[in-house]
Symmetry: C2
Subunit: 409 residues, 2 copies
Amino acid sequence: MKKIKGGVTSAKGFTVASTAAGIKYENREDMALLYSKKPCHVAGTFTSNVVKAAPVLWDRRIIREEKRDVHAVVVNTGIANAGTGKRGYMCCEKTAAKVAELLGIDENEVLVGSTGVIGPLLDMDKIYKGIEEMVPRLSDSIEAADKASCAIMTTDTHPKQSAVEFEISGVKVTLGGMSKGSGMIHPNMCTMLGYITTDACISSELLQKALSEDVVDTFNMISVDGDTSTNDTLILMANGEAGNPEIREDTNDYYTFKEALNTVTKELARMMAADGEGASKLMTCNVINAPDMFRARVLAKSVITSSLVKAAVFGNDANWGRILCAMGYSGVDFDPENIDLSIEAEGYDRMLIYSHGETADFSEEEATNILKQDEVIITADMKNGDCDATAWGCDLTYDYVKINADYRS
Amino acid sequence: MKKIKGGVTSAKGFTVASTAAGIKYENREDMALLYSKKPCHVAGTFTSNVVKAAPVLWDRRIIREEKRDVHAVVVNTGIANAGTGKRGYMCCEKTAAKVAELLGIDENEVLVGSTGVIGPLLDMDKIYKGIEEMVPRLSDSIEAADKASCAIMTTDTHPKQSAVEFEISGVKVTLGGMSKGSGMIHPNMCTMLGYITTDACISSELLQKALSEDVVDTFNMISVDGDTSTNDTLILMANGEAGNPEIREDTNDYYTFKEALNTVTKELARMMAADGEGASKLMTCNVINAPDMFRARVLAKSVITSSLVKAAVFGNDANWGRILCAMGYSGVDFDPENIDLSIEAEGYDRMLIYSHGETADFSEEEATNILKQDEVIITADMKNGDCDATAWGCDLTYDYVKINADYRS
């Protein structure tokens, strides 16, 4: 397993292009097109929100209901195409049809993704023009992947990509992806927009199994603001161009593939949490020695979701009472007298702040120094089992309020 | 039913005092003592947080397990006495014992309440001194109640009291109370600290029933920041001094009593939401025509809890997409194409902003004017039943972050 520079074009046979279609922003790239000449098996996880954006309905139909292979994904930022009713769904169909026409494929082999403001309809003339500009520019270069990862951003402050190389039965396989945050992030079954490509040879069913198993500990374990978006979509495409023998369930190859997938999804998830709207630092919560995975996950996520914990971390305040409180209302039962809470950061030892039902004897000054670092790690030792989970969030800052108080204006 | 000026001393036979014990603040009253010479039947609802502050454990034992009548409640602000283990519980016992000694009652007839920072132990010398100062000052005056309602505040910007007079079988009965917010407010089975007194004659069992039935639509329907405190406590005391025939279950008298209780709890709940940390306005969400009460409550609470809705309301932005999104991830299933969303405020007509799955044709300027008012009312018409629920919250502002980033410093 080797981490490499790159993203959606790292795997063989994938090309990408982006353009400034003027959907919301002037002079900023806001569309991306991802294409594999060879058809791809595809897996997807989507928002659990009852209110699903039109592109989510479009993609789910193709992936989950009709179980088709696909060739392309077209994404726009600026407008979410959510809360747009039947006319919004028609926009997806028209968008896919335009891509299909220019690439010589079927419209049902084109996935669609949108992110941005809920409500407005897409201006199809701009979308058509964007697609026409992108098709001739499709490239398998790292630069094209870099540009695409920027084009899909909204309030993100930097692009998010990750890629790895690994071997399946002696054959080199590559997997890489891109994703975007950064507000309305509290994924449930997946995250905002994430696109991962691989040249591995693997069936659709196993691809979906790997993705579904993976997200519970990666994309579903991050939160910026507790709001689960209408558009959350994570797509994993495999075109088989690596030429490896097909990956089978419950084999070492499968576990290698899952490890590769996990390396990329975890890195993207961490990047999204760290780049949450207004965030000044990444906040990681490890819950260790819990009785089961479910409880470990719920506890970890409750801590990183708490507004009061987030504000305390912003203020470099080792306010363990708020951490304990957030665990206490998570819905998971535990004995508050029998857990340990500690904090740590790179370059600093783990420091115990709460134990035996009371505050630990710690230096507030040293604690403040730890909390000032770029990644603050909170560890809750439940001392009641052997299951561990990690969740990632960010601090709550003035900028979060600023960004969201005038997002539409 | 008549609203009157007053609070915990409005009902016959209740006296109160407050003092500056120097627990956290200098020169600010931070303790209150409530006393009825006649023993009171008492009902209580407490935090659902697994981590329960010592005073919650003390009060629960007396009210729920031992079902005792009580005479007094002593409250301090500044320190929550939570996360303090056995030593914290000992503080409650010592506090109650001191009050009992000076008033000539049993220590198990004294309830204890604390609010403030989680972690530190109470300084018992200060508590003793405070109690000694308060006992001789006990008074049934409105001024004493006013001062006590100020003494129990933490980050509240103003005190919260409410009182009503009503008749039970021709006898005048009074019920009044005080409460405090204003952060870590997302009550579950009750709120931060609330104390309500009445001179009604009613059994402990029926008192508890009335309170438990009431909170689901009042204190449990407010949220400031989604954090359920370790200290949430709502106490209702009845000393029977009005001399009314005992209120029996399922009688008109009982419904009259419940209406009086609801008038006071609803007013206190609204005051707490409006005075949420950093809040610039009250945000009310009515969910109407839902298939059942449970769904109506969950939907309403999800809207007022959403950070993105709260930030949009702060920014006077009629961003209905965020309202729809918050309903969508509430866990309640509904058809987003078949609901109406509207906003209104005092002096402005209700304005439809979303209908038939798409944006309504409304004036953004007029919407902004509505959102600038002190109370913004969001109504979601589910068109799928006849159950209505209301939740109260507040906007998310820079000041919320400011208050919570340096709460301990």
